[in-house]
């Protein structure tokens, strides 16, 4: 589904990604872990087309097509979704209206009829209950005045409505207490199917107790320096990142 080959990117003249390689197949959940500043969020941003980043090398194929050649909205329509680490507040743009527009733009790009208000409302009601979101919240402006937990639940709610093929969750656990974390993780797990995939970016192992990955990758200094199964996450929780960092430094100084 997704194939990242030797991806390099910089922002404001600084090289952040220095050759990322990653393959994600349908039905898989990949966790990307790493210390602060290792390039995790940059990778997410590059995959969804944030314009501040300059691609300096490599390629990304999504279902065989050149993902990096697409505009941000075209990537979304192709089925790529990012749950933002810091969802932006958009005063004056109603949550429900926004999401209906988004879904119908995606449907239009696939040659499908737009959902009318009644059908959309039914879809919304169905997905809402899993994320414990209230209708009154969704009648407000996008993320405006939402608590941290509400913002993150709203991200996963949008994911549920838009039903992407590949969902990237960028530090969705940050700022959540354990109860909110469970709700969010539960929501994400419910969306898992054999024909879609998830990339979970996180600093801590905690989220992975609830969203169990098939693969865990450690990102450090712009490269994936270690990959393994879900046990790797537990090992990181126990031992921290230092043992990997020093192993990398010994193997390749600088």
């Amino acid at each position: 589904m997704l194939e990242i080959k030797n991806l390099m990117a910089k922002v404001e003249g600084k090289n952040i990604l220095k050759g990322i390689n990653l393959r994600v197949k349908p039905g898989e959940v990949h966790a990307i872990m790493g210390p602060n500043g290792s390039g995790k969020s940059t990778l997410a941003s590059v995959l969804v087309g944030r314009s501040a980043y300059e691609i300096t090398g490599g390629e990304v194929l999504f279902e065989g097509k050149d993902l990096l050649a697409l505009k941000a909205e075209e990537r979304a329509r192709a089925g790529v979704f990012l749950a933002f680490q810091y969802p932006v507040e958009i005063p004056g743009v109603n949550c429900t209206y926004f999401l209906k527009m988004a879904l119908n733009e995606i449907r239009k790009s696939r040659g499908l009829e737009p959902l009318d208000a009644v059908d959309f409302l039914a879809l919304m009601k169905e997905k809402m209950k899993y994320l414990e979101l209230s209708e009154s919240l969704l009648s407000r402006a996008v993320n405006e005045g939402f608590s941290g937990g509400e913002k993150k639940r709203n991200e996963v709610f949008q994911m549920a409505i838009l039903d992407p093929k590949l969902a990237i969750l960028d530090e969705t656990d940050s700022g959540l207490d354990i109860d909110a974390l469970k709700v969010v993780a539960e929501g994400v797990n419910r969306l898992k199917r054999p024909d879609n995939a998830q990339i979970v970016i996180t600093h801590y192992q905690r989220l992975l107790d609830y969203i169990v990955p098939d693969f865990v990758h450690v990102l450090y200094n712009g490269r994936i320096v270690k990959s393994g199964g879900k046990d790797l996450a537990l090992e990181l929780e126990e031992r921290g990142y230092d043992w990997i960092i020093s192993a990398v430094s010994e193997a390749a100084p600088n």
């Binding site: 969804v48 087309g49 941000a72 979304a76 005063p91 004056g92 527009m101 988004a102 838009l162």
Partner: protein, 452 residues
């Protein structure tokens, strides 16, 4: 306000002088003295003041030289072209049960107007009619509030006005149906000028909603110079909405002067979609304690257009509150001007005044000149003001795009949201929906920058 007299003025060969002489001669025999005096005084003030030049403090950013050099002939006698209700369709507000007064090139059309509301003491009619049959109601107020002594265009209007609306809401009556005043310019000839005049008197404990629409039948150059005087009696409530949607070649000058008695509440909405020059002077004077005033405005200006709001809130009495919210969207080579004056007079304690002006500037060539001006002579008051000038939020744009919404549509959504902050304050639902739809159409027509 003596400063205006010392300001430099244009003194071109003035076509208004001969026009006024003609009007005066024609009216002499059939016009009551008080009206003649009012006109004469208006014209005298106009001649003293002259049209404001670029060095005039209140007109620094709004250059009227194209107007001053343009021939201007007031339409004093008018034969209506055969307009029908079908012609008015674009400006009728769907779902709004209302009284409607229609003015074609400044002249009342009984045929297109409709008065539905009936209540003892209620008067809704043309001002020309009211001046002859309701002199006792009109004379004490007409020309007493708008400032012909300091505002040249008010003076000019006072000299030349032919008609407009007269509304008298008797004490205690909460008028359910709004009054819709529809001013249609047929754009009869280059150089024609139209001077509508409205007088709205809302007595003690009474309520009124009034809408003024200014529109053109076809695009073209024309000058509208309108004056509305509003008196809100003690504990009265008046919601006034002015919707200016004349075409991009039009010149529009408007003065709205609100006089507020104790504990009255007034609302002024001004939705100004632009013209070559659209200037709105909106002023509220608190003549009694405990009043409240909301000024709420949205303005757009694109290529070679200028939209100007000058507001004055005069806190002459204690315990009054005023809130101002103006949002502007400037694009292409459009210019916006906002000047908000708040006076807090000595003794006007417990005044609360808040002013906000926000601007979206969508191109490198678009310009906004915004200036708050607070003059406070009382010590126990709360006054705040703020002005912002910015572009569309790129983070919000990206967020919308990342959900599959194309960049153009995302821009439309954000502009619309910005406009809606203002539109949402319009209390009447059919009117709000109508304005929202018109503004959306206008926003959709804004050319988008390439490669952004």
């Amino acid at each position: 306000m003596t400063e205006t007299l010392s300001n430099p003025v244009f003194r071109p060969i003035d076509p208004y002088v001969s026009a006024f002489e003609r009007l005066f001669a024609a009216e002499q025999d059939r016009t009551p003295d008080w009206i003649s005096k009012l006109r004469q005084n208006g014209f005298m003030h106009y001649q003293e003041l002259g049209l404001p030049g670029p060095d005039h403090e209140e007109w620094r950013f709004t250059n009227i030289s194209p107007l001053a050099s343009r021939p201007t002939v007031p339409i004093l006698v008018h034969t209506h072209p055969p307009l029908t209700m079908a012609n008015l369709q674009p400006w009728l507000i769907p779902g709004l049960e209302c009284n409607r007064l229609v003015f074609i090139d400044g002249h009342y059309s009984a045929q297109l107007s409709e008065i539905k509301s009936k209540a003892e003491g209620l008067k809704i009619c043309s001002l020309a009619r009211a001046m002859t049959i309701k002199t006792a109601l009109v004379e004490p107020h007409l020309g007493r509030h708008a400032q012909a002594t300091s505002q040249a265009f008010v003076a000019l209007n006072t000299a030349f006005f032919q008609d407009g609306a007269f509304i008298w809401v008797p004490a205690g009556l909460a008028l359910v149906e709004p009054v819709h005043l529809l001013f249609i310019s047929t754009v009869p000839e280059t150089g024609a000028s139209i001077h509508p005049r409205n007088l709205i008197l809302v007595q003690r404990d009474a309520r009124l909603q009034v809408i003024e629409t200014y529109a053109q039948l076809k695009e073209g150059e024309n000058l509208t110079n309108t004056v509305t005087e509003i008196v809100a009696g003690p504990n009265a409530r008046v919601e006034h909405c002015k919707y200016q949607c004349e075409g991009p070649q039009s010149y529009h000058l408007a003065a709205i002067q609100i006089h507020q008695e104790a504990h009255s509440e007034t609302v002024s909405h001004s939705i100004s979609l632009g013209g070559r020059l659209a200037r709105n002077d909106i002023q509220s004077h608190f003549a009694g304690a405990g009043g409240n005033s909301l000024f709420n405005g949205l303005y757009l200006a694109g290529n070679d257009q200028l939209t100007d709001h000058h507001t004055v809130i005069d806190h002459a009495q204690p315990h009054c509150g005023s809130h101002e919210f103006y949002n502007g969207i400037l694009h292409g080579r459009g210019r916006g001007v906002f000047n908000g004056k708040i006076f807090v007079r000595p003794g006007a304690q417990k005044t609360e005044a808040k002013q906000t002006n926000r601007n979206l500037v969508l191109s490198d060539e678009a310009v906004i000149d915004t200036k708050p001006q607070l003059e406070i002579f009382a010590d126990d008051v709360k006054c705040t003001h703020g002005a912002t000038v910015g572009q569309l939020d790129s983070e919000a744009l990206f967020y919308l795009q990342s959900r599959g919404i194309g960049r153009d549509l995302a821009r439309q959504m954000l502009m619309h949201a910005f406009a809606q902050e203002i539109i949402d304050r319009v209390g009447n639902e059919p009117l709000r929906d109508y304005l929202d739809a018109r503004v959306q159409e206008q926003l959709a027509a804004i050319p988008l920058p390439v490669n952004s």
